[in-house]
Amino acid sequence: MAETAQAKPMGAHGGGEGTRRDFLVLTASALGAVGTAAVAWPLIASMNPAADTLAAGAPIDVDISKVAPGMSIRVLWRSRPIFIVRRTPEELKQLESGKDNAELSDPDSKALQQADYARNWHRSIKPEILVLVGICTHLGCIPSFAPQPGNTPVENWEGGFFCPCHGSKYDLSGRVFRGVPAPLNLPVPPYNFVSDTVIRIGENPKGSDFDLSSVEQL
């Protein structure tokens, strides 16, 4: 407050450590700061998703009756590609055997990338139906579906999802392999079965309150 003391005009009340002017400057500045924050808040908050944008993120129903074993479809939910795969019995057998588990980063889905109901060897509610958010956990590209083992898209390919951007590899449950840039398994969105042929993406089965925004990485 040295500055204020210097600029004290004629007739100002001095005396003591805290002057009337100190009090006025402090209270006025504090109120000014509160006012500025009160104006800044709505401006910053306006950049969050608007009410209609949020409403457009409501759950969607997908008919999977036409998805044959070994086939995958993609739907868009909350502007994100959702992969729905019906795995063949052979693929499931291989996944259940756990023969590739040693090559996976997180074979038991310990990281929070799915709800508890998808924390199992098939990472899904029904073993054959897999639902994933199809966004690579490395830098957000969309992995391609390559279920056949062989030498495409890369040498010694085990079958699963392959990200073309930086070569990250996931198995047919969306679990990430070791030694690739992606750190985590592909997330599983909340979903449930409305009937045998219709799944609702964005809504948990009864009894679960899993929130997709709580996962470690989308």
Partner: protein, 415 residues
Amino acid sequence: MAAPRTQNRIIRWIDYRLPVFSYLEHELHEYPTPRNLSYWWNFGSLAGFMLVTMIVTGIFLAMYYTPNVDMAFDSVERIRRDVNYGWLIQFIHMNGASFFFIVTYIHVFRGLYYGSYKNPRELLWILGVIILLLMMATAFMGYVLPWGQMSFWGATVITNLFSAIPKVGNAIVTWLWGGYAVGNPTLNRFYSLHYLLPFVIVAVVMLHVIALHQHGSNNPLGIDRKGPQDSIPFHPYYTIKDMFGLGVFLIAYAGFIFFLPNFLGDPQNYIPANPLVTPPEIVPEWYFLPFYAILRSVPDIWFIPSKLAGVICLFGSIGVLFILPWLDTSPVRSARFRPIYKWFFLVLVVDVVALGVCGAHRPEGTYIVIGRIATLYYFFHFLILLPLLGKMERPRPLPASIGAAVLKGGAVSAE
């Protein structure tokens, strides 16, 4: 330029290389300001505040606005209903236009009363008139963006003004529209320019402030500062006074934003634009009413048809302000010492208000008569009265100095 007074080593290090702190010290603390400025001198900084407010809120609105004839209206409604605090930001911006003009008009009339446009502040004044013109263009184009009925028909009427120009008028109007009528290309270019022009205004405001700081503020006495006894540092004396005035201003502004957000607007603009139906009455926003009245009041003048004459007078009403420093021949600045001009200033204020009233009503009956008389007086005031008055009027004696006038019994320096 003085070094900053602080001992803070970081500030000194920066200032030695980039003298921002010296500059602020020079332009705010050392900057000598007449000690007798009244609250009428608050309105320049208020206008600056409004400029910043409009730019900041406008940037956030632009994140959600869609400049397309099929989507513009709905995108504005979406801002009000769905975007977080969009209603607040939009009302701040919408009412901000009105409050920007209120403070600017008071600022202009303060300059007229106290002769702030006179030697050596002619360029300062002219830069201010340029800012006013830019503001009008920006406000007009901003009003078109919500694409309501008034937006569309306001744009149609104002762009058609240029069709009054002989020979090339129609070509100019087509060029302005980018089509056969006001339409999507018009909306797109208006949006582009509405975003650009405020930053042009910022640049001209900077020149305005540089010109101001060259000779400092005029003051209610209209006499020059003669020494340190006549001035006080801008900071803290006028920063605090500006802040206080800002507080009072914000109470009124917030009152409109929160309690009367649509009071100053036209309900017609909540109807989406319809190129097939003109509303029963086309009225511009209140801040354009006096000019609108001038446009409509002018009859045929000799060989000039009424339409062209109206447009000439409309632009002339601002144009005359550019040459005001040379029209007013009186060597005395402040109307306090001009016993006759003082009253004519009042007549001009009443005249402009009367024009505003005429602009708000259909040009029929007495409104035509009043509008024509008021238009005539407006130009008479600037083109005939001011040059003559300066020669005929006998000013009252000016005080010896600001200090002597405001500190009875001798001047004492504030520092």
